[in-house]
């Protein structure tokens, strides 16, 4: 690019101008990038998915501080926390300082929620600012500050430790005691007193005392207190049981004998809070012989949506770790539809080499089950007593299960399709508009690999939706009794229950 006869000064000057221009463009680009990210974050575009936002790139120092200003101006606490999440993901190196710059002017409740992040990020002087803020904060903020600063061996907090341990509030006493136990440089006398405080509260009959101790320990578990926490797993208070589970599952000694039995009991607890804590605890403990899929399946079907949410969030921890485990799990739990859906999604997200084959095999099995159930349903009208209420219910259950198998096939095909084409096909197939449905099916059949499966699906959908005859022989021959046996063997628990009832009814009324 540079002519041979060009003077050296010209070349150097040109290079300098070019470098300055490039630097200026880069600065402007960073500024624009920062602006757009702040704008997007401000509009909560990335709400709840900090990991995804982190993939977009990092924020510079100035933008991080602008984000912290926005956090200060946020209309609600969840939005402010969203900013904090973004700061931690997008600018981990500046997040602590940026948060600390606005921390004193935030409301105490928000300070309370941010303090753990500050402790984690540990920007310089955070202890002094937190200590100062606690002087003007509410009781909760003082408790959190005491716990975190004592655990961080902050000298100013240590000077207050004795007062906190002698305070009137069991919550403040417990928080300070837990903080002292976690501090590496806590004096032996203070450590002993902290243990004594927590032991006293954990053995107290007053719920305010033991809930205070359990609450502080749940935030920062300590294995030394486990012998006093464990009996709380069967306490009358659901809150105490849930907190005890949280503490117990986060201590390394927990994997002792009887742990699976205690977790199993907690999974069936009357309180949703305990059931949610139990599934979280099981995910954390990873006991060697725990019935992982039984527990997860139960939690995914839980009548309380909060338990289901926790089960979905921790599902990955319960999944098989190798190919054989997946084969067994997918075949043995075909009629646990909620679990099957989660397993399929999780398997498709793994690096297991043969996952596509495993998923295709599972989809073919589901299609076969759908066909068998529709065939039995189709043939029941020809059977004796077919019009009795029990058989009407049985037919309805068979239809619903066939539909769920078909949905499972579509879900699997969706997971196999990286081009997202299947998403549109699935939406079309879910439509009640016949034209849209037919169009979606037509598109599906064009897919090379899955074309044959879609042709089968077309027939099955037609049979399920329009009751058009499938033809062919139902599984296990042509006798009603054999179909009822088949339903009990291959159907879900609910289908088996209905079939069993019909069978009992047939015996009583021959």
């Amino acid at each position: 690019l540079v002519p041979h006869e060009a003077p050296l000064e010209w070349v150097a000057g040109g290079g300098l101008v070019f470098a300055v221009a490039l630097f200026w463009v880069k600065l402007k680009k960073n500024e624009a990038y920062g602006d757009s990210l702040v704008e997007l974050v401000g509009q909560s575009v990335f709400t709840g998915d900090a990991g995804q936002a982190a993939e977009l790139g990092r924020l510079d120092n100035a933008t991080a501080f602008r984000l912290a200003d926005l956090m200060q101006q946020a209309a609600s606490h969840p939005v402010a926390i969203n900013y904090a999440d973004m700061l931690e993901s997008l600018a981990p190196e500046y997040a602590g300082e940026a948060m600390l710059s606005v921390y004193p002017s935030l409301p105490p409740k928000l300070q309370d929620q941010l303090l753990l992040r500050l402790a984690r990020l540990a920007p310089s002087n955070w202890e002094a600012i937190a200590m100062e803020a606690a002087q003007h904060g509410d009781a909760h903020l003082v408790e959190t500050t005491a716990r975190l600063l004592l655990a961080a061996d902050c000298p100013a907090a240590k000077a207050q430790a004795q007062n906190w341990l002698d305070a009137d509030s069991p919550r403040l006493q417990s928080a300070a005691a837990v903080g002292c136990l976690h501090g590496d440089a806590t004096e032996p006398a203070l450590r002993a007193k902290s243990r004594e405080v927590l032991e006293r509260f954990l053995t107290s009959r007053d719920s305010a005392d033991y809930l205070a101790a359990l609450g502080a320990l749940a935030a920062m578990p300590h294995e030394d207190l486990l012998p006093w926490v464990r009996p709380m797993l069967v306490d009358d208070s659901a809150r105490a049981r849930a907190l005890a589970l949280k503490v117990w599952s986060r201590c390394p000694q927990s994997e002792g004998s009887g742990a699976a039995r205690e977790l199993d009991a907690a999974m069936r607890d009357a309180s949703h809070e305990v059931r949610a804590a139990a599934i979280r605890a099981a995910a954390q403990l990873q006991l060697p012989n725990m019935p992982a899929l039984d527990w997860l399946g139960g939690a995914l079907r839980d009548p309380d949506y909060r338990v289901r949410q926790v089960a979905h969030a921790f599902a990955r921890s319960f999944m098989p770790k190798h190919r054989e485990g997946w084969v067994k799990a997918l075949t043995q739990r075909e009629t646990d539809f909620e679990l099957q859906t989660v397993m399929v999604s999780e398997l498709s997200a793994t690096d297991i080499e043969s996952k596509a084959t495993l998923l295709r095999q599972a989809s073919e099995r589901h299609a076969r089950h759908a066909r068998n159930k529709l065939l039995i349903m189709e043939n029941i009208p020809h059977a004796e007593k077919a019009f009795s209420q029990e058989y009407q219910l049985l037919k309805q259950v068979l239809r619903e299960e066939a539909r769920r198998h078909l949905d499972a096939v579509l879900h699997i095909l969706g997971c196999l399709d990286h081009g997202q084409q299947m998403r549109y096909i699935r939406a079309g197939l879910a439509s009640r508009d016949k034209h849209l449905w037919a169009q979606a099916l037509e598109s599906a059949m064009q897919l090379k690999k899955e074309g044959h499966l879609f042709r089968e699906l077309a027939i099955l959908f037609e049979a399920e939706r329009e009751s058009s005859p499938l033809g062919g022989e139902p599984p296990a021959g042509n006798a009603l009794g054999a179909w009822l046996d088949w339903c009990q063997e291959y159907g879900s628990e609910w289908l088996a229950q209905c079939a069993k009832y019909c069978q009992g009814k047939s015996r009583v009324e021959p």
């Binding site: 009548p303 209420q389 029990e390 309805q396 619903e400 229950q497 009832y501």
Partner: protein, 149 residues
């Protein structure tokens, strides 16, 4: 028929639950409390606080908005499969009408806490409730038009 399965079967015929599958009804059925009233009884009066809502399984109920609850002037009649009392449980306002039992009636009752739990567990139930409420609104519209004329 087995009492539980019978209850599930009954629920399949209630429009409110029509968006739920039978396995969901199987889990929901034990939460419902069977209740019964003789002909002539009043289930609730206008202005009462709403604690429960009901799904009629047998019988007939007249809905009155007369200020005197003993008056038998009905704006609507409910039969098996219909539901009543859900409005007060959703908006926490007192009952907007009086419910008179016109024939011996049997129903399933569901209290507020359980209803809220079920709505969280089975959002499809909310769609069923919306459908029932909008059908009721549609049924009332011609009468309103007639009254305004």
């Amino acid at each position: 028929m087995n009492q539980h399965l019978e209850r599930v079967l009954l629920l399949t015929k209630v429009p409110l639950f029509s968006y739920l599958r039978t396995d969901q009804l199987n889990r929901l059925a034990p939460l419902l409390e069977p209740v019964a009233w003789p002909k002539g009884a009043r289930i609730f009066d206008m202005g009462d606080m709403g604690l429960e809502f009901y799904v009629i399984t047998e019988g007939r109920i007249g809905i009155s908005v007369a200020t005197d609850p003993s008056q038998h002037i009905f704006i609507n009649e409910l039969k098996a499969g219909d539901s009543l009392g859900e409005m007060a449980l959703i908006d926490n306002e007192p009952r907007s009408a009086t419910a008179h039992v016109l024939e011996d009636t049997q129903a399933f009752a569901l209290d507020k806490e359980k209803l809220h739990g079920l709505l969280m567990a089975y959002p499809e139930l909310g769609i069923g409730m919306l459908r029932a409420l909008s059908q009721r609104l549609r049924a009332l519209t011609p009468r309103l038009v007639k009254t305004s004329k």
